[in-house]
Symmetry: D2
Subunit: 329 residues, 4 copies
């Protein structure tokens, strides 16, 4: 990918703000990957991709329905509210960070008070979810149908889209527009890019003026070809899927080693463990890096496997987990 | 109150925008009622009073903690988000629409992720609550202490403040600034005024430039004396407390007639009933007006008693309730 | 008008939030006055009427073109920016506070830089202007045509609409929708009402969800009938035009007495004087109340004539002006 | 610079979100360059750097005073309004895109109407200006003094800061904090970086929570080291000054060749020409790339010289200009 950037650099006098050959090539590549004409808007962060997508789908007096653990709710410091000029995030519960049809129906019912309540405008799903679980095309379509029937648009946070795709074993088209997704935040940074994400618009009738929203929020990068080059390299020869498959496989090895300490099924590149505080201390003492999850009383660890993890590190982690389980399991 | 407005009208050439004698008299009256120097800002709606108060206490990247059933969450079409430029409402559960110390602690714990999460900035309570229950001075102080310790300010939505005061049998000071309330939305419209509410600032160090926020949001009324006149009449001779006591008493009669159909204790002017769908139909057939509450599966009625309810209407409602209970109870 | 409010008060149990008989009657009255079906939204301040109207006509990345001296630019503390979530006011110069076709064309040319510049979205005129001059139906239509051709909507700030109408001697329809006005802020407070203004929508295809914008900004008054009652009384028997004619006539007397001290023609109820600092001091010493206008170096006075000015006060002002002119003219 | 990014890439497992060694080294480098402790916030675009800086210095009801031709007014699609939640840009005229003390004083006088007008909060200068002219340290200080006396903060848009510095022949400290600048948008992209800009805070008491503003607007890049690496390479061995000196020298050659067709003095890397429409056509026919400036009637060209311009291209442009002047001058 660095090589691609260096090559982009040689094209010194390229036109700026996205009117260059690399950006055009990337657009063609995305249309091919998704088997349909799409609009593409590049950004440098996933938060920008999510917030721009959402703000193009909701009025300020709208509600964005998402899972309680969604990244847009917990980790973006209110970016969706900022970009949408104050839309409300309505939180839905559901096991393993997945929105369920029942949860969605209940949330919709609570927002039918006419002018007194905000208008439900967007359903935002995450695939793979914040807990590394995935939605199948069918699950996605079931939720999207409910959303569309209620007049909502469907956004998909695809920060880990490649990982979900590899796990589900389906095509990009099947997991997005054919399942009712209107706009996708196509993540790449978490799967190998330097700083490049893409907003993929499948249904341009539903979105507002993303071009001006992006400029206005400072996300129209002038030397746009450096972003395009990264994503072209990322898509080229299915590199993105290769990297995701490697990360998923690494996560599966960790999950196997952790056994029933796993909080739930491992379906992408993250593994959640609830082995008790003592084991977590032992892991940390053993040099394992993880995020603290959960809410104080029931400590939980989130381990993120990477495509670039060294085999020795991975084997060491497996051994440590097997040893700890033998000792305390 | 109409007479007071007519009198205000005679003062034809009064200075506009709040620099008139009636507004000054009202300021003095509020200082006396609350036994402390306060700042007063008048508005014409409760939504404006709440949203202005909150926006003066939180940055856009702040979180406003409130009960899941709070009016600011359910009935103001996102006004707090609009006025605060996108602050997030964080919802707390708790029985009978009351925030509990445990619920507050848990919500605070969930917002300690540094720059990735919004900053908890305001605790907004409602007294009497949306379910007509009340907080005592002690309950208020316990919550305010937790809030202040966490760096939050405390807002009180007092749309039914008079009703709470009458029920608790304490002074306005005891139920507000002495219990840690920084800013109060002092409601009058629901208790007899035409269109007049007041923001009462107890702790001016915590608030931003409310004067400009009010002007900027179109809530600085030019002929300000008409609002002041209403509120002066409202405070005069404790009229506000007399009206609230009458409404509370009427609600108590309804609650007594409804018996164990009441969802919970009646502590102000609203009564919540869960008598089953058939009884609700019978009530409606009997001409009783109420709001549908609850979430579909368990229908619930919200009856609001008024200070100006005719005795015949009230007696008729009592009789209907007694008859229905005799028949089906 | 007070009597009308008192009458509205007797209708104690009217439905709230605008679903009452008086509001319906007012809607019919406005349709008749403007000879076309209109949508009507009441507010309590002119700033709210203007800002809501504008925010319903522009996206956040839009530009609102108006005269440099427009009230929305100089006197509303940024309300249009607040309600529109950050649209930009683009200022146009022109003599006597009137926008000219040339000024409008030039402003449009400056905003054609694609995604890098905001999009010109609204032309906001004021009639009568902030300097008391007026636009004729033909002048309005010429500007509206340019605006519509460029894809802009046309808003009219009618804080002094009645005064303009009386001066122009035309019908309400001729000075608004027949001349291309899409949305009108219909002012009443400056011409006799207590606190009531109306947004009149002629072209509902151009506007967003005003109902939710109004609720969200705290401008949906619950006891809506008190506003409707004022405006019904205001329209009844052409009271509004009678009051405006009286105010205009009073202004004309002041202007006649001031002679060539007038900055420009007096076409409604305000008179602008540039008699030099000494005369202004003398006027003030003589008890005359006026606003300081102009920019320091060339002091200017703005006198606003009222329909309720006492004859003795008016005659005294005339005499003072004649005397000062005899002395110094 | 590409090499620096590749090196940063080798540090695969660096901590994210700015907590890495390169970012720390860059912070130290900036403190040394400016000879004072500074806070540094990196972004990927100049629009983001400007808008974040400004929004950290003004409340929503504030006014940002800047030149009529400022980039923040003309080319950022309302980004300052978006980030600041609706602050107003107040435009100042002045020759050669420079704000003058008189213009600044006049703008301040126009915003002293209390709650009815927005509050003047920020003076935003650009150095080098949008017309390639520069402010000296003394000129900057004179304006900053007026601003500070009026309670405003001072922002400097330094998209071409290196070019201004080279022209003025002074130190970075002299042209910023010693002259009263509170916050600087330090540009690098226009002078050789791929996509890296820095907000430099000199006076942290004046700014709000930039860290949260940045996260919330999607400008906190996770793989932060790639930005830091670019800027470290940019500062290293005064590369930034070398590049700027080269660009300035190239512009000076163009200006010399254009002679009195130049609209004004060339003080950095841009040259503005007003040779009449025919000559502009001839230049364009000769393959010269430039921006159309001016307002229709008096066509003007903006040529931007680059540090990486090929000598042959430059000589060709010089020859073309000399030839055209000999022919028509």
């Amino acid at each position: 990918m660095i090589a691609a950037i260096a090559a982009a650099n040689d094209a010194q006098h390229a036109t700026s703000y996205g009117d260059d050959a690399l950006t055009q090539a990337l657009h063609a590549a995305f249309c091919e990957v998704f088997e349909t004409p799409v609009e593409v808007f590049l950004t440098t962060t996933g938060t920008a991709a999510n917030a721009l997508s959402i703000s193009a789908l909701t009025p300020p007096w709208g509600a964005v329905l998402c899972h309680r653990e969604a990244h847009i709710e917990t980790d973006e410091c209110g970016a969706p509210e900022f970009f949408s000029n104050g839309a409300k995030l309505v939180l839905i519960d559901g096991p393993c960070a997945r929105v369920t049809p029942d949860g969605l129906h209940a949330a919709l019912r609570r927002h039918q008070r006419g002018v007194h309540s905000v208008r439900a405008s967007v359903l935002s799903l995450t695939n793979a979810t914040e807990r590394g679980t995935t939605y199948s095309p069918e699950q996605t379509a079931a939720l999207a149908d409910i959303a569309h029937s209620g007049g909502l648009s469907v956004h998909l946070d695809g920060a880990r889209f490649a990982n979900a795709l590899v796990h589900q074993g389906c095509t990009p088209a099947e997991l997005t527009h054919r399942a009712g997704v209107d706009v996708l935040s196509f993540g790449a940074t978490k799967n190998g890019a330097l700083n490049a994400e893409a907003i993929i618009v499948f249904n341009s009738e539903r979105v507002g003026d993303i071009a001006r929203l992006r400029k206005r929020s400072g996300h129209l990068v002038s030397k746009h070809r450096y972003l395009a080059a990264q994503l072209l390299a990322y898509l080229n020869d299915d590199l993105w899927l290769t990297l995701a498959a490697r990360a998923n496989a690494n996560a599966a090895r960790i999950a196997a080693a952790a056994g029933d300490w796993c909080s739930h099924a491992c379906e992408s590149n993250s593994v959640f463990l609830k082995p008790g505080a003592a084991v977590l201390d032992a892991l940390r003492a053993g040099g394992v890096q993880f995020y603290d999850w959960g809410d104080g009383e029931a400590p939980e660890a989130r381990l993120v496997a990477s495509w670039c993890q060294a085999e020795t590190d991975l084997a060491q982690l497996e051994n440590l987990l097997y040893a700890l389980r033998a000792e305390r399991g």
